[in-house]
């Protein structure tokens, strides 16, 4: 239960000449819910993109279950057990809700060209298993009755939940949520907090989330890490971080 599953050491990342992350050390233990906060432009999403392989770090190393993943591509990292959602919601708009989630099962299925054309027994079996998993995920995020809608026709909150279901369908051990509560009303936010708790309890996932809504972060995270100008300035329990002077300064400016 306390095994470290993700470990990042001395991560640096620069865009052109701009250093987005400087010497960041970071680790997550199995089963934790960790919050990642910081002012806009602090490098939170960049860190996510490094974990999921969308960028390769300029310097430093990322280990997932003791396997070096820095430099791997996203499609190589996802099957290892890291899934994510996107800050700006990236669903497959012209696909049905069910098909969106089925795409999540892509890396857990094997059917090739031959199996797809002939519809071999094993490919049929695999497809029905994928459907079953996808349906379960949809029910879990409470979208079971919308499975035939186009994803682009869903409401904002539903889209956020669909993105989570799609990520869960890849069967990850670590789930990265990029501002899941952004743009939600208080009721939706409350439901989301409950959903995230359920994901850990019922599905046994480790969760790292970026969030600006402090009620969400402080409410569900066991540990919070704070980034500012590409550096990690604090880390600890929500209580500790809230009292940390560097964090207060970062959020309220030098005069505070």
């Amino acid at each position: 239960m306390h095994k470290i599953i993700l470990k990042a050491a001395n991560i640096c990342h620069s865009f052109g000449g701009l250093m987005a992350l400087k010497d960041v050390d970071f680790a997550i233990k199995s089963g934790e819910i960790v919050g990642l906060i910081g002012p806009n432009g602090a490098g939170k999403t960049t860190l996510f993109n490094l974990f999921t392989g969308h960028y390769a770090p300029t310097r430093g190393e990322i280990l997932f279950n003791n396997l070096r993943i820095s430099g791997l591509k996203p499609y190589q990292i996802t099957p290892l057990g890291i899934a994510r959602t996107f800050q700006n919601i990236r669903l497959f708009g012209q696909m049905s809700v069910l098909d969106n989630v089925l795409t999540g099962q892509h890396c857990r299925t094997r059917t090739g060209l031959f199996g797809a054309i002939i519809r071999t027994r094993s490919s049929k079996k695999e497809e029905s298993r994928a459907h079953k998993t996808a349906q379960e995920m949809l029910h879990f995020v409470n979208l079971g009755d919308k499975k035939n809608e186009y994803a682009s026709n869903l409401s904002y909150g539903e889209r956020r939940r669909l993105e989570i279901a799609r990520a869960l369908a890849t069967d990850p051990t670590l789930l990265l949520l990029d501002e899941p509560a952004a743009g939600m009303n208080p009721q939706e936010t409350a439901d989301l907090i409950e959903l995230i708790r359920q994901i850990r309890v019922k599905m046994d996932k480790t969760i790292l989330l970026i969030e600006h809504d402090m009620k969400v972060v402080m409410g569900i995270s066991e540990r919070v890490a704070v980034l500012n100008y590409g550096r990690k300035i604090a880390e600890g329990t929500p209580g500790e971080v809230q009292k940390n002077e560097a964090v207060i300064k970062a959020y309220l400016g030098e005069s505070a």
Binding site: F92, M95, T111
Partner: protein
């Protein structure tokens, strides 16, 4: 039963349907803008015609050889170029199509600019119908599978597809290979129907014609490709009485069509009036 004129028309509709559906897989389902489809057709046409002429292979085997030859080049061409997106991919495929044409124009084996003559006539309406059904059947099976979902996911959002564990380079290349295979099949049928091949019948304008069939019918719609192919094969024939005005009208119709119904005849208009297309295509230019 059917007069020779209508027979020819039906055969050409069939071959064009194969061309349009195979391009539809690349453009409509996977969202990769390729304007070099005629090159794959020519590879299949020359490939199958040459094995017929030189080795005397049976018709079906020649067709298969031509299609595999085209698929092989589809993959070779696809691997490096599919890293490019949108307009850049379009221009690269256009350039590659031109290179293929120029190579055929200068090879001795293919008869160069004089063309390749004396191909036996083997293509009949029955074969064409069977080939169309075969193409549509295989492509539908692929589209309604895990692979098809991967194609559509790439069209909708390549970054998100990547993070679902979809190796987009692999699937784009696969899609190019399959598309080229069926384009090659169409080319083989064409070669054994026309009995004569000239590289200039597979130029840039031919690729554009295929593109227009797919767009006219509606992207990402199997029936759309068939309807587009039928209309664009029959219309020039109907306009035969005004032969000189044919292409003039063709051009004007394309412009008007894009104004009136840019999503094609069977495409689904969405809330914001944007057709069923991928992220690249959907991106309307910013409001002015």
């Amino acid at each position: 039963m059917i007069g020779p004129y209508y027979l020819q028309l039906l055969i050409l509709i069939g071959i064009n349907t194969i061309m349009a559906t195979s391009l539809n897989l690349i453009l409509g389902y996977t969202g990769q803008l390729s304007i070099g489809h005629a090159a794959f057709m020519s590879l299949g046409a020359y490939g199958s015609a040459l094995v017929t002429l030189h080795f005397g292979f049976p018709f079906l085997v020649s067709l298969l050889c031509g299609a595999l030859f085209a698929a092989f080049f589809g993959i070779i061409i696809g691997l490096p170029t599919l890293r490019l997106k949108g307009d850049y991919l379009a221009i690269a495929t256009l350039g590659l199509g031109e290179i293929v044409r120029i190579v055929f124009l200068n090879l001795e084996l293919t008869g160069g600019a004089v063309g390749l003559r004396g191909i036996p006539k083997k293509t009949t309406l029955l074969w064409v119908v069977l080939a169309v059904l075969f193409t549509v059947f295989i492509l539908s099976r692929i589209i309604r599978s895990r692979i098809g979902r991967a194609f559509i996911a790439i069209r909708e959002d390549e970054t998100a597809a990547d993070s679902m564990g979809i190796n987009s380079t692999y699937y784009k290349t696969l899609c190019f290979g399959v598309g080229a295979f069926f384009a090659g099949l169409g080319g083989g049928l064409f070669a054994h129907y026309m009995r004569y091949l000239n590289p200039n019948s597979f130029g840039f304008m031919r690729s554009i014609e295929h593109l227009c069939m797919v767009v006219l019918g509606g992207l990402g719609n199997m029936w759309g490709a068939f309807i587009g192919a039928t209309i664009l094969t029959v219309t020039p024939e109907l306009l035969r009485t005004v032969a000189d005005l044919r292409l003039l009208i063709y051009g004007a119709v394309l412009v008007l069509m894009m104004r009136v119904r840019p999503q094609g005849l069977l495409g689904q208009p969405l809330r914001n009036g944007i057709p069923l297309l991928g992220r690249f295509f959907q991106q309307a230019r910013p409001k002015l």
